[in-house]
């Protein structure tokens, strides 16, 4: 009586032209990335060629970058997984989401702001040191170096992993938990039999994502690395581009970076999917299991959770405390602030919507492709995690400089660059759900002739509303915090808030800078929440579905 779970196989594509468009978009993504790098290579004679770095030192830097990124990813997982299990065991998944949102902000805040928050807790005059001093102990030593970099990477990426892991736990069917309870499975057995098979599909993708984020990390390295010994390819690309004008070097380093990242992503893709739903975990309470009441277990869980909250949320609170002041009010009155605010919001909201739109298109097309096609799509999108915004921007600049006044085009270029940087994230958020929906709703939709745009508008959008809200919010938030792209194209006429912040920082204006950092944080939260609520509008019940 069981219905076999098979692919339906009709003799015409259920998809329409959108698959072609999706393929076109994927191809364009690859072409744009290669074009911009190529532009750097071709225009290479512009540079004054100060950089005389040998192959051996490039190899050293690449190796170090790889090593540092792998460690960071593994460490983040090593922390996120136990905390996720602790959350799950204590049925805190739903509440945890609110706190995780807070710590998640460190991923999207400008790195400068986030690191200063970190230093506010762990620096020599930070909270911990003050507490130690009051207790009479010696203050913390300076924390710069590889250790600091790894720690910071973990702080900023573990919440991301945690969020995704929690959705996996929440997706465990209640029946399995009932079986576990009835059979009296212990904690380790539950992990091995029920949890791990699901986690296993998600973890490689998560590792790949965090690896890429840490591999291309650069502001953080510069701020916490402590010196030239701790450096990444991205730092070298930045230096080559902005300070040595060695375009060829920057392009070559970009290609090296791209290749390494592509290999790692491809390798990890064999073991799992790239989805990262991260949408709020279900509210159902987990059935009590054997071993839940064990006091040692409870203590460990409490320690893990409290520890994580302190570590992850504290830096954000530090930003808040430092920034709250009368400066906040006076800032709102500056005309430059108001202009920058409008520019930031405009670019952020637009790039959020664009990135989500493109991600949806690609996710929808991906469903209709075979495994090779799907794999290429994933790679094409992930490319933009490995291509730095600065290379994109400079390449675009070179390509367009003869053709058009780049200053006039600045807002558009910033928008496009932000969209491309956010795309891999938006894609990961929507892709999994899209694939699932296609599978479960295909037969019904096809038999009712609900296809193409109609299907997307009436069926897919409402079903995907939470993912869309999260993807758009995330993309927009990433844009709010961007400092690299705007540094290339900003001008007096076109400024965003991070750039204003950067300017203020260079002018001794600590109070204003801290206040603006806090305002940035609040705006990021607003945008996140705004898009999440806005997505609910997608779920509104239409008066009638026809038309």
């Amino acid at each position: 009586m069981a219905v076999r779970d098979h692919q339906i196989n009709i003799n015409r594509k259920a998809g329409g032209g959108y698959v072609i468009i999706g393929i076109g978009v994927a191809a364009s993504l690859v072409i744009i990335a290669l074009l911009t790098i190529g532009a750097l290579l071709v225009a290479g004679d512009v540079g004054s060629g100060f950089g005389g770095t040998s192959l051996a030192s490039i190899w050293r830097v690449a190796l170090f970058t790889f090593w540092q990124a792998s460690l960071s990813a593994l460490l983040s997982l090593a922390i996120a997984l136990p905390v996720a299990r602790a959350c799950w065991r204590r049925s805190l998944a739903w509440h945890a989401n609110k706190l995780i949102l807070l710590s998640f902000l460190t991923v999207v805040m400008p790195t400068t702001v986030a690191v200063s928050g970190l230093l506010g807790i762990w620096g020599q005059t930070g909270l911990v040191s003050s507490i130690l001093a009051r207790m009479g102990a010696a203050p913390l030593p300076p924390i710069y170096g590889l250790g600091a970099v790894l720690l910071a990477h973990v702080f900023f990426n573990a919440p991301l992993m945690l969020r995704v892991l929690l959705t996996v736990f929440a997706a465990i069917p209640a029946e399995q938990m009932r079986l576990a309870a009835q059979w009296g499975l212990g904690d380790w057995q539950r992990f091995r039999i029920i949890e791990w098979p699901r986690l296993r599909t998600v973890i490689p993708g998560l590792l790949a994502l965090v690896f890429l984020l840490c591999f291309t990390s650069f502001s953080l390295i510069l701020m916490l690395g402590g010196g030239p010994a701790v450096t990444t390819l991205e730092v070298n690309i930045y230096t080559a581009l902005r300070f040595d004008f060695d375009l060829r070097m920057a392009a070559s380093l970009s290609l090296v970076q791209l290749s390494i990242c592509a290999v790692v992503v491809a390798f990890l893709a064999r073991f799992g999917t790239t989805t990262m739903s991260g949408v709020a975990a279900a509210r159902s309470r987990r059935l009590p299991q054997r071993g839940d009441e064990n006091p040692v277990g409870k203590a460990i869980d409490a320690f893990l959770l409290a520890g994580f909250m302190c570590l992850a949320v504290a830096p954000v609170l530090s930003v808040i405390f430092k920034g709250v002041s009368s400066h906040m009010v006076s800032i709102f009155l500056w005309p430059s602030f108001q202009r920058a605010l409008l520019a930031t919001l405009g670019v952020a909201v637009t790039s959020g919507i664009l990135a989500t739109g493109v991600a949806l298109l690609m996710a929808a097309s991906r469903v209709r492709l075979g495994p090779a096609g799907q794999w290429s799509f994933d790679l094409a999108v992930s490319l933009y995690l490995a291509v730095s915004a600065i290379v994109l921007g400079t390449g675009a600049f070179i390509l367009l400089r003869g053709v058009v006044d780049v200053f006039l085009l600045a807002p558009v270029l910033v928008l496009m660059a932000n969209m491309l940087v956010a795309l891999p994230f938006a894609y990961r958020v929507v892709q999994g759900k899209m694939a699932l929906l296609a599978k479960t709703q295909d037969k019904l939709c096809l038999s009712l002739d609900v296809r193409g745009w109609r299907r997307f508008r009436l069926v897919t959008l409402p079903a995907m509303a939470p993912e869309i809200g999260f993807a758009a919010g995330l993309s927009a938030a990433l844009s709010v915090g961007d400092l690299t792209v705007i540094a290339l194209f900003g001008s007096q006429q076109f400024q965003t808030l991070p750039w204003l912040l950067y300017q203020m920082m260079a002018r001794y204006r600590t109070g204003d800078a801290a206040a603006l950092a806090l305002i940035l944080l609040l705006i990021t939260i607003l945008i996140f929440v705004g898009f999440a609520l806005g997505a609910r509008w997608l779920q509104r019940r239409p008066r009638h579905a026809a038309g």
Partner: protein, 209 residues
């Protein structure tokens, strides 16, 4: 008249399912057989979700075999998940009409249909707010309004208790009679065919070739 002529299909190489049957307009055919014998597959082939290796499917002498699902004059009612969770029952019916606007005439028609099938007043409810039997009857309402001449039911009522099932069968009769639909009903319960007083077809297990 729906004719399935020498249809052959294999899931695995060497094991071939074959079908040859016909159903007249207004007739209900109960398709029975043991598990794995290919009852659902038959419906999928007729609906167009799978392509046969050999043979034809004809409706009033028109060959349907090459047509995609949405071009076939068929309505399918699955065992579950017939309705979109985010749409009201009313909207669930309308969405199956290929973009027709819900004008007053249609609205009237749907309301009458709901009355006929014992769904009075449920138009604005969400599927999650009504019982399983009511959900299946909403799917039947949709079939009725769509008025396609072929109706396929794959264990549509098997998950319901006997009383609810009888109610659904009465509704089914009303729907079939309204448009003289050629109907195939897959079910594993003997009582179903008895209650409906309809022809039965027992499928043979797949041949090994």
């Amino acid at each position: 008249m729906l004719q399935v002529e020498n249809l052959e299909f294999s899931w695995e190489p060497g094991s071939v399912l074959s079908y040859d049957l016909s159903v007249s307009s207004g007739e209900i055919l109960a398709v029975r057989g043991s598990s794995g014998v290919g009852k659902t597959t038959l419906l999928e082939l007729i609906a167009g979700f799978q392509q046969p290796d050999r043979g034809r499917i004809l409706w009033k002498d028109k060959d349907l075999t090459e047509l995609p699902p949405w071009e076939r004059p068929v309505t399918s009612v699955f065992q579950s998940d017939n309705l979109f969770g985010h749409l009201s029952c009313f909207d669930n019916v309308v969405i199956g009409l290929g973009g027709r606007r819900a004008d007053d005439a249609l609205r009237q028609q749907i309301n009458e249909c709901f009355d006929l099938l014992g769904l009075q007043g449920l138009q604005q409810r969400l599927p999650s707010e009504i019982s399983g039997g009511q959900q299946q009857r909403v799917a039947l309402a949709r079939a009725l309004i769509r008025a396609k001449p072929i109706l396929l039911l794959d264990e549509s009522f098997s998950a319901l208790d006997w009383t609810m099932r009888q109610g659904c069968f009465d509704a089914l009769r009303a729907v079939v009679d309204a448009h003289d639909m050629a109907t195939l009903l897959v079910s594993h319960d003997d009582r179903d065919a008895e209650y409906l007083e309809c022809r039965q077809l027992l499928l043979r297990p797949p041949e090994t070739r």
